[in-house]
């Protein structure tokens, strides 16, 4: 009996010691995780049910009042719609362009690195700064884009200044900025495809490049494409920098997007409760997107 119990402690002691050290090593991360992620997330959900405003000491729980207001808030609805339109333009265009560029670069023998660098450059550039440059390019009278269009007798629009075109202008900037990132991920996906598959496809009668693309490249890129799609959608939903720098949601709320509306309500008008309800909607959108990716990944794309 005695020997068994001492044996047990002899085995257990190092295990307890190991667990204690593990706790110590993980402790700073755990504390900070609670402090800066879990607690604020819980707080934002709670605040969404209050009428808390910064600067006023009185606040009370208002139930779903904020959410009811959101439904009828024209600015918020406009903002959701604009974010959806922006995402619906930027995501597919930047993915198709990135895939095309990646395939062209992959097929090339020399100059691969040069082209990769050029297309990736916007990712490494300060977006606020480059947005300023785009503002100049888009300038209705002195901007190079409209000057160029004028050479062909086309009167260019007031890109960022007209409510009809501002979202397209922002989408062009967004696409320009994200193509390089997607391209690099596609390049990694393309290099991972075994060469023999193309040879095998050719033996099986895949004559044109399109056959090879349809039979080998596209299915093999499945997981990459899914991942690129999710991350592109999430990044597009998070559009903020260009809007804040160039349009401030204008003209006439035509470029009001989700994060900008939250920023205005919460940090400019200081209506924290109401902005928190908006944030919960934003968070819900992200959760749904991640969940969808997870489901699709689970089901469809297994080639590895």
């Amino acid at each position: 009996m005695v020997s068994v119990s001492t044996l047990e402690t002899a085995i257990a002691a190092p295990e307890i010691r190991e667990a204690r050290i593990a706790w110590l090593l993980a402790l700073p991360a755990i504390v900070l995780l609670f402090l800066f992620i879990l607690l604020p997330t819980a707080a934002v959900i709670v605040l969404g049910f209050t009428d808390f405003e910064l600067g006023y000491s009185n606040w009370r729980f208002v139930g779903f009042e904020n959410y009811a207001e959101l439904f009828t808030d024209r600015t918020f609805r406009r903002s959701l719609w604009n974010t959806a339109v922006y995402t619906a333009i930027v995501t597919p265009v930047s993915i198709v362009l990135a895939l095309a560029i990646a395939m062209l670069i992959e097929a090339e023998t020399k100059g691969k690195a040069l082209f990769r660098t050029v297309y990736f450059l916007p990712v490494a550039s300060l977006l606020v700064a480059m947005a300023t440059v785009w503002q100049f390019l888009f300038h209705p009278t002195i901007g190079p884009i409209n000057t160029f269009l004028a050479l062909f007798g086309i009167a260019g629009p007031n890109w960022l200044g007209a409510s009809g075109t501002v979202l397209y202008g922002l989408s062009i900037i967004g696409t320009w900025q994200s193509v390089g990132f997607n391209m690099v991920l596609f390049l990694a996906g393309l290099t991972a495809i075994p060469r023999e598959l193309y040879a095998a496809a050719e033996v099986d009668g895949a004559k044109t490049w399109f056959d090879r693309f349809r039979l080998v490249t596209w299915p093999m890129l499945g997981p990459t494409t899914l991942f690129v799609t999710t991350i592109s959608i999430i990044n597009a939903v998070k559009v903020f920098e260009t809007v804040k720098t160039l349009t401030e949601g204008g003209p006439n709320k035509a470029s009001e997007v989700l994060l900008f509306t939250i920023y205005q309500e919460g940090f400019v008008y200081l209506r924290v409760g109401y902005a928190s309800a908006m944030t919960v909607v934003f968070l819900a959108i992200l959760v749904v997107l991640m969940f969808l990716q997870y489901r699709v990944l689970d089901r469809k794309v297994h080639y590895a």
């Binding site: 190991e18 050290i21 593990a22 706790w23 090593l25 993980a26 700073p28 900070l32 800066f36 992620i37 879990l38 604020p40 707080a43 934002v44 605040l47 062209l104 670069i105 100059g111 690195a113 990769r116 050029v118 297309y119 990736f120 450059l121 916007p122 990712v123 490494a124 550039s125 300060l126 977006l127 606020v128 700064a129 480059m130 300023t132 440059v133 785009w134 100049f136 390019l137 300038h139 002195i142 000057t147 050479l151 320009w176 193509v179 690099v184 991920l185 990694a188 991350i231 903020f240 920098e241 720098t245 994060l259 920023y263 919460g266 940090f267 902005a275 928190s276 944030t279 968070l283 992200l286």
Partner: protein, 278 residues
């Protein structure tokens, strides 16, 4: 026949790639060109890229005098460096414990990390802002850095990297009498450089470019980071002085672009590694 078809295809490919590249570079070309033009020439709206009257000195002097560019760049470097160092000092031991040590909370931690990956700063910004306001730490480096001290993404990335490391390495170190902290510092970190560089690039690019959080917690120019400083510059520059504005954007874009051009292979590898795992 085949070689001919090959060369036609290749010429078409190169043409498309080059035209695309030119389009992607156009903003940079116009930035450099406009930064050297006097106001009158910019307003003549010609497409000529080379300034007739070189005004680089004028425009750069204006850019440097309106907003203190050195303060901005210094703040950017300090904030990014602090964030990165704290992130890895916090994340590496935690990831090591989760990957290589037996403790019961590891599974719960994994769930928390996965949850944390879902939550961007935009979602936690309001309560953190209210708390920082109450603690009166707005307009400090603390406010800029603290919310990013924990990177669940770093934990996630290092966790995957450490899991692939052989256990023998750690056992050998333990037999040599090294403490667990010693193992992290002298065995794990030296073997984790690829993951650390990849994460460094990811972290620095993200925080150097971030406008959202600095905009919220900083109203004092002395603590402005480069993106925020450029906003101030634009506000001060109410007119259409595009020459000075382009000079300012050039100064502010240059550091990270230079770093990228010098270490582009690492950049691309880093983004691929962090991108695919994220």
């Amino acid at each position: 026949m085949t070689s001919n078809a090959f060369s036609v295809a290749r010429i078409a490919r190169l043409t498309v790639l080059s035209l695309g590249a030119l389009l992607f570079l156009a903003p940079y070309i116009f930035m450099v060109s406009t930064a050297g033009k006097p106001q009158s020439e910019i307003f003549s709206s010609s497409l000529s890229l080379i300034p007739q009257q070189w005004s680089y000195v004028e425009n750069f002097t204006k850019a440097l005098s309106r907003v203190s560019m050195t303060t901005l760049l210094f703040n950017g470097v300090i904030v990014c460096a602090l964030i990165f160092v704290i992130q890895i000092v916090v994340a590496i031991p935690c990831a090591y414990a989760m990957a290589k040590l037996k403790f019961r909370a590891a599974r719960t931690m994994m769930v928390l990390v996965m949850l944390g990956l879902l939550v961007p700063i935009h979602a936690t910004a309001l309560p953190i802002y209210v708390a920082f306001d109450k603690l009166s730490v707005l307009n400090t480096y603390t406010a800029l850095v603290a919310p990013f001290s924990i990177s669940v993404f770093a934990i996630f990335l290092f966790l995957q990297f450490f899991r692939a490391m052989p256990d023998d390495l750690i056992h050998a170190a333990r037999l040599d009498g090294m403490s667990e902290a010693g193992i992290v510092a002298r065995v794990i970190v030296p073997n984790a450089w690829p993951a650390i560089t990849a994460f460094a690039i990811f972290s620095v690019v993200a925080h150097w470019n971030d406008l959202f959080w600095p905009l919220i917690v900083v109203t004092n120019q002395d603590y402005a980071t480069p993106p925020l400083g450029l906003l101030y510059f634009r506000a001060a520059e109410s007119g259409d002085d595009y020459g000075a504005l382009m000079a300012a954007t050039l100064i502010i874009t240059l550091p990270l672009v230079t770093a990228f051009l010098l270490a582009q292979k690492r950049f691309v590898e880093g983004i691929t590694m962090t991108g695919l795992k994220g």
